[in-house]
């Protein structure tokens, strides 16, 4: 059975701890650009926790919204890439072929979620930090676009392990670093092609919405949020 990987983000559970952000950086060899470059808006975070404030002080509510690549089925980043560096994989992921990227940054402009990140300079890991690099993930040189892959290296190794052991993948077996590290279990990863998976159940939830769904990008990330309309109608 082919897989169609997706994610659910439960906004009612997220407490904005940013463990996902740290886990993602460690897993995916995300370069630290430094204070000066970060001030210029060039910091790289494949997943970020957006904070929005509701109400007037002192009656303020903070809302946390983790945003990562939505792995759109109808992704605006894919058709604009002149070299197929940004392409759709068989499992429905928005792949990014680093070696094929020439750095037009067109995909990043086309992405309505602004979740694509560019290497403005060659990344550097001062010794001994280079020892922490994950050998399963390539590092990206200057001029290359990068973004969340749903930890494709973890998905692939889980698939290979299951194949070796001649069994089907279990629900939640491949888990991206952000999902694995989320303390309140706000992030759930799974196979949308398996109607019994926890993710499929959550994706069907009446709390579910798609981020900027009106743009027609058909994201595979579902945001779960309790709201008045749901309370009244269910």
């Amino acid at each position: 059975m082919s897989h169609r990987w997706g994610m659910a983000v439960d906004l009612d559970r997220c407490n904005g701890c940013e463990a996902c952000v740290i886990a993602c950086r460690a897993e995916n060899n995300i370069p630290t650009v430094g204070e000066e470059q970060a001030q210029k808006g060039r910091a790289i975070h494949w997943i970020r926790v957006e904070r929005y404030y509701e109400g007037e002080f002192p009656d303020v509510r903070v809302k946390f919204q983790p945003v990562l690549c939505q792995q759109c089925d109808n992704a605006p980043c894919e058709p604009v890439c002149p070299t197929y560096a940004s392409y759709h994989t068989d499992e429905g992921l928005n792949g990014q072929v680093y070696n094929r990227c020439i750095g037009t940054r067109y995909c990043a402009n086309a992405c309505p979620y602004t979740v694509r990140f560019f290497n403005f300079f060659n990344p550097a890991w001062d010794k001994p930090l280079h020892l922490q690099l994950n050998p399963d993930v390539s590092v990206r040189q200057v001029g290359i676009m990068e973004k969340c892959t749903f930890c494709v290296q973890r998905i692939k190794s889980a698939e290979i392990r299951a194949k070796e052991e001649k069994r089907e993948l279990g629900d939640g077996e491949p888990a991206p670093a952000c999902v694995q590290s989320c303390p309140p279990k706000a992030l759930v990863f799974g196979d949308l092609n398996d109607p019994e998976s926890e993710l499929s159940r959550l994706a069907r939830s009446n709390r579910g919405v798609k981020l900027l769904g009106e743009l027609g990008t058909q994201p595979k990330v579902t945001y779960l949020q309790r709201n008045e309309w749901n309370d009244k109608n269910t």
Partner: protein, 481 residues
């Protein structure tokens, strides 16, 4: 030496005078020329140094950032491709319309096209993160069977710009051939050899004239849809993405109109400089500026119409993301640039071009300079505000250019001027044979038979360069009959 155009019409078939005046810039090199070339060359050199530094350090030396991934470089790209519409398109339309006043203008215009395209086409490479693999945009057979993505507007750009470049170079070279032959006949030494090679064996036979005229006619027709397609596709680089205020059906005609607008302005500026520094007052009469000024006025009105139509629709549509970008430019941090743009593209040029008394050479020149500035700002204001405010407010950002981008931008203007100055030194910048043909036509239609018959012996008695001018003459004469 100074004469009014009317006087020229009478004793115009004074070939020696025309040849002398128009070949003078080619024949003689002054110290001033080298000074200008050196100064412009220095700025160009600074631009190349900045680019070299950027190649060495990484694209990060430019001011682009997340989410404004495109900045000055793409602005320059769109701007220069827009300027390139000066030439070929205008000259093709004027040729097909058989506008008599076009004759001294066409070559000045066609050269702008070729050079502006060369400069504009550099920017997609300059702005790349990894320019050393830019050739992956080219479809070439390779072992791994990898091709460019034909769905990407950038690949469409590649084809459109190259088609236009090849077409406009052809369109520029064709009518130069007889003038190269004239240079060959007039000059001696290494210049004779050089222009002899460039003249491609032109002898001025009836058959050659016929073929030249047919080729020019075909090119004039073919180049118009090509030119329109180029800026259409440049606009689609933006319109094909779901970015607020980019994703618009109006973009293609809006960009084409803006391109022609800025192109005419650039042409007028170039003509004013040529007129003054090459002493071509007699050959670029005020009627050329008057007529180009009227065209510029028309395009200015069209530009305002497009801007109004675009913005009013977005205001009424009231989509949050779009309206956010709209107010960013109307009254937000970009308002100064926006209203300077409106002043440069409409408020200043409109009275200068609409009031007959002000539509002088100086008036059209001032209007044109403001239009060039305004159209550069327009490209900037299309690109940057939209990117700085996409859909998720958390990811909004701003953009500031760095010295590298500013240096490279300055170098493009210096480079354009440099190429133009050098070209005007190597090739007669006014098409000599076309001018003579035009003057002949004018004299035949406006002066008496006696005047014409007076000119005929002059024409046939030309001897050494009669191959060029004389035959051109007979040819036109034949067409006229």
């Amino acid at each position: 030496m100074t004469k009014t155009p009317d006087q020229i019409n009478h004793d115009l078939i004074n070939h020696d005078l025309i040849n002398h005046d128009l070949l003078r810039p080619v024949a003689r090199v002054s110290a001033r020329f080298f000074l200008v070339v050196a100064m412009l060359g220095l700025v160009v050199l600074a631009g190349f140094s900045a680019w070299g530094y950027q190649l060495y350090s990484g694209i990060g030396v430019a001011g682009i950032r997340r989410p404004v991934f495109w900045g000055f470089y793409i602005t320059n790209f769109v701007f220069w491709i827009g300027i390139s519409h000066a030439g070929t398109l205008i000259s093709a339309i004027l040729r097909l319309a058989n506008a008599g006043w076009r004759r001294p203008v066409t070559r000045c215009a066609e050269v702008i096209t070729v050079f502006a395209l060369c400069i504009g086409a550099m920017f997609p490479v300059i702005h790349l993160g990894r320019p050393w693999v830019a050739f992956w945009l080219v479809p070439y057979p390779n072992q791994r069977g990898l091709w460019p993505n034909y769905r990407s507007p950038l690949v469409w750009d590649f084809f459109a710009i190259n088609t236009y470049l090849i077409g406009s170079i052809t369109f520029l070279i064709l009518p130069i051939i007889p003038d190269f032959a004239l240079c060959r006949d007039k000059f001696t030494g290494w210049r004779k050899t050089l222009y002899g090679l460039l003249a491609l064996g032109w002898r001025g036979t009836q058959r050659q004239w016929h073929r030249l005229e047919t080729a020019m006619h075909i090119m004039a027709i073919v180049i118009i849809p090509v030119a329109v397609s180029v800026h259409t596709i440049v606009s689609w680089d933006f319109a094909m993405t779901p970015v607020p205020m980019w994703h618009s059906t109006i973009f293609a005609p809006y960009f084409v109109a803006g391109a022609i607008f800025s192109g005419i302005a650039a042409l007028i500026v170039a003509m004013v400089f040529l007129r003054r520094f090459l002493h071509l007052e007699e050959y670029l009469p005020s009627v050329c500026f008057e007529n180009l000024g009227k065209l510029l006025l028309l395009m200015s009105l069209l530009w305002v119409y497009f801007v109004f139509a675009e913005r009013l629709t977005i205001w009424y549509g009231n989509h949050p993301a779009e309206v956010s970008v709209l107010w960013l430019t109307q009254s937000g941090p970009y308002r100064y640039l926006f209203w300077i743009m409106v002043a440069c593209n409409f408020l200043i040029p409109f009275p200068l071009l609409a009031i007959k008394k002000l539509r002088t050479i100086t008036g059209t020149c001032i209007a044109s300079i403001t239009v060039v500035i305004g159209m550069w700002l327009e490209r900037y204001l299309i690109i940057v505000p939209s990117l700085s405010r996409k859909f998720l407010p958390y990811a909004w950002g701003t953009y500031r250019p760095t010295w590298a981008e500013i240096t490279i931008t300055a170098a493009t203007f210096a480079g354009m001027a440099l190429l133009y100055v050098v070209f005007a030194k190597c090739v007669p910048i006014i098409s000599i044979w076309e001018l003579k043909v035009g003057m002949r036509e004018a004299s035949e239609s406006t002066t008496s038979v006696a005047a014409v018959s007076r000119t005929r012996p002059t024409a046939s008695g030309r001897g050494e360069h009669g191959t060029v001018a004389g035959v051109g003459f007979n040819k036109t004469h034949r067409v006229e009959l």
